[in-house]
Assembly symmetry: C2
Homo-oligomer: 240 residues x 2
């Protein structure tokens, strides 16, 4: 681990480094939280086989996290301190969305992590290329959500009562998850900057046909996340 | 994964394979249980830094387990089924040793896993060389216990009340842990055979000075495990 804040050669100004370390810290903290949730779901899984499978998915989260923390170190950040700012950000969400069944817990992970990952992916569009690649790879390659979607879809397809309960629960979860995103955007200007930079990069050039003013960040973010959530619920065969 | 029971070339008779798969299954199940316990301890750790460190140790348990399960597959066993026979073996131990503080939970992991690992290492002496190496490496290289011992020792040294409570708790834990070992030895003849083979290999040759009858397995095992436990508590500076 390097103590010198700018030991790694890079073309980025220091301010961008700090913003990048902040997003990487959020990604790392989210993976730590997902690890704890998945490990808890594993402990209560109905069968030994599911317990083993979920435990493996949880362990894989921390392998991903490690690559994110390596990048934090390369940028001169501290792999522990970068997460400190986010400690407890999911407490309120967790308190408001206590699952009453194992399946509700599994869907909570799928939806909550889905929204968190999508938010981080939006913000990652404002990062330097190397950091962006690290975040995109960590959040999109062989994720627990991808592995677990067919299992939820199958259970829901086989049980119409479960299916309608989970659909209702999914709407509750996404509402609460968007609440967390709103708080993070309001409290962490660095992340709002990254999201705005990413949104601007995606929008058509001003002056070109269809070009216009910068999108209003929060409503633009919510629209993107809600659309992704609808696709996610579609994959489960549940009404969004 | 191979479906043919003896697809891997080996000089071992099939009966020894079955015994080896049984011990490897116990090791794998113990690692899965330790994963769950460490992840649970992590979730309740007082600081984010400890939460991260314990989560990493938990994830590392499953990396170890993977190597054990690869050997199960090589021997023609099923990596999931090999654990099934042991499902729930720690439930009674867990019910009798509910930690009332975070430190008690940490010591429980240290003692419980220590006894389980020592038992598996004794039985491993009766295995074929390749399987023995897999078990010994999994249970002795850079284990969570080795990493955590200094942390417990430091906390106990700084607080005489904690130290005497943990010493008492350690005696309770080792008694309950030996109870689990007694049940396993009584219920799993394959493991008793491996332990007896290992003990016979360690004892002097019959006819040589000091040679004698085979050690009575259970009392010999308990003596070995108790001696290791005393060394373990010494490392923490706690009275065994």
């Amino acid at each position: 681990m390097s103590d010198a804040p700018n030991a790694t050669p890079t073309t980025l100004p220091a301010g961008d480094h700090a913003d990048a370390v902040e997003l990487l810290g959020l990604v790392a903290y989210t993976e730590l939280a997902s690890f704890g949730r998945l490990a808890g779901d594993a402990a209560h899984a109905p069968t030994l086989r599911q317990r083993q499978a979920l435990s493996r998915l949880a362990a894989a989260m921390l392998d991903r996290q490690e690559r994110v923390l390596v990048r934090v170190d390369e940028l001169g950040g501290d792999p522990d301190d970068c997460m400190t700012a986010f400690d407890g950000i999911f407490d309120d969400f967790d308190a408001r969305t206590r699952p009453s069944t194992w399946w509700e817990g599994i869907l909570k992970g799928y939806v909550g992590q889905g929204v968190a990952d999508d938010f981080c992916l939006l913000a990652a569009q404002g990062l330097d290329e190397r950091s962006r690649t690290v975040v995109v790879d960590a959040l999109t390659q062989d994720t627990p959500s991808q592995r677990y979607a067919p299992v939820i879809a199958e259970a829901a397809a086989a049980d119409p009562v479960l299916s309608s309960r989970l659909a209702l629960w999914g709407r509750r979860l996404v509402g609460e998850a968007l609440g967390v995103v709103g708080v993070v955007l309001a409290e962490r200007p660095a992340l709002a900057r990254l999201v705005a930079a990413g949104a601007a990069a995606e929008a058509p050039e001003p002056g070109e046909p269809g070009g216009g003013p910068e999108p209003a960040t929060q409503s633009w973010v919510f629209a993107q996340l809600t659309a992704e959530h609808a696709r996610r619920m579609d994959r489960l065969g549940l009404a969004a």
